[in-house]
Amino acid sequence: MAILCASTSTIFSSSERTSFGSLKKTIPSNQSSFLGFFPVAALSKPGSVLPTTLSFSKRDFRVCCQDLSLVPENQRWMFEESEADGPDIWNNTWYPKAKDHINTEKTWYVVDATDKILGRLASTIAVHIRGKNLATYTPSVDMGAFVIVVNAEKVAVSGKKRTQKLYRRHSGRPGGMKVETFNQLQQRIPERIIEHAVRGMLPKGRSIV
């Protein structure tokens, strides 16, 4: 306990918001075993001892703790009493509930594909569809957004790919392979080019089509 008091008081004395990152570790008492290995001098900036009034408001740092009695007296201001009865966010990883991924409330993006390079565009589209740019990403749940691509026939491609990139498909029968170049497919069904590109970048065999 002596170590606990010493480190918290030195951290407490630095009045910047930035020491909050180090504060976060010392507060839950079940992590107090860390303190023995703490390079305390490296972490907290040495400063004069401050009274309990600090420059930042209580509202900005919402720290949650299940059991307020474990927290020492002078740090209780950081804990919101209302959160103490809520879900335990420090011991249970967040998993989306049904209301977090309703289809009707997802964002829709509209992308104009004129003169964008095919692969780079498809890459960012796939990231948004999968939901990999969100903090709430979960592999088992489709948290991604919907993407609408406009002007798909004007998508650009570098080098000689217009004439040399081949799109193959097979009907399943022997000798049933059909090959097309990028140009021919663009004449026939231009949307399929972007669909093919994005589908190749998404996980296969799953409900995220």
Partner: protein
């Protein structure tokens, strides 16, 4: 419970013959326990993977060419011991806090 009954109680929710025939019960029980043992370690890996993906997703939004790997490098340089679980939970509950931490670390 007698040992035989304990055995079949373990496999009582298995499908088909795996819950009815004694020999297959013992075999399937062994396989189930092995899976449980392996997956206890895989669970730790899976969650770390999930936290890393979540952290990466948000950190890349901070600025051009800022990524999870750079964040971790900065964390280690400043000797900040926050683990991935806590970082991921901070991101979900209180994202400004993470931006503050990352800005402070980048200096």
């Amino acid at each position: 419970l007698v040992d035989v009954e304990k055995n079949s109680l373990f496999a009582s929710s298995f499908r088909g013959a795996h819950s009815r025939l004694t020999r297959t019960i013992t075999q399937q029980r062994i396989r189930a326990l092995v899976s449980a043992h392996q997956d206890r370690d895989m669970k730790k890996r899976d969650f770390c993977h999930l936290w890393i993906t979540r952290i990466n997703a948000i950190i890349r939004g901070v600025g051009v060419s800022y990524s999870y790997s750079r964040l971790i490098r900065n964390l280690y340089n400043k000797q900040l011991l926050l683990n991935h679980k806590i970082l991921a939970q901070i991101i979900i509950s209180n994202r400004n806090c993470l931006y503050m931490i990352s800005n402070e670390i980048r200096k």
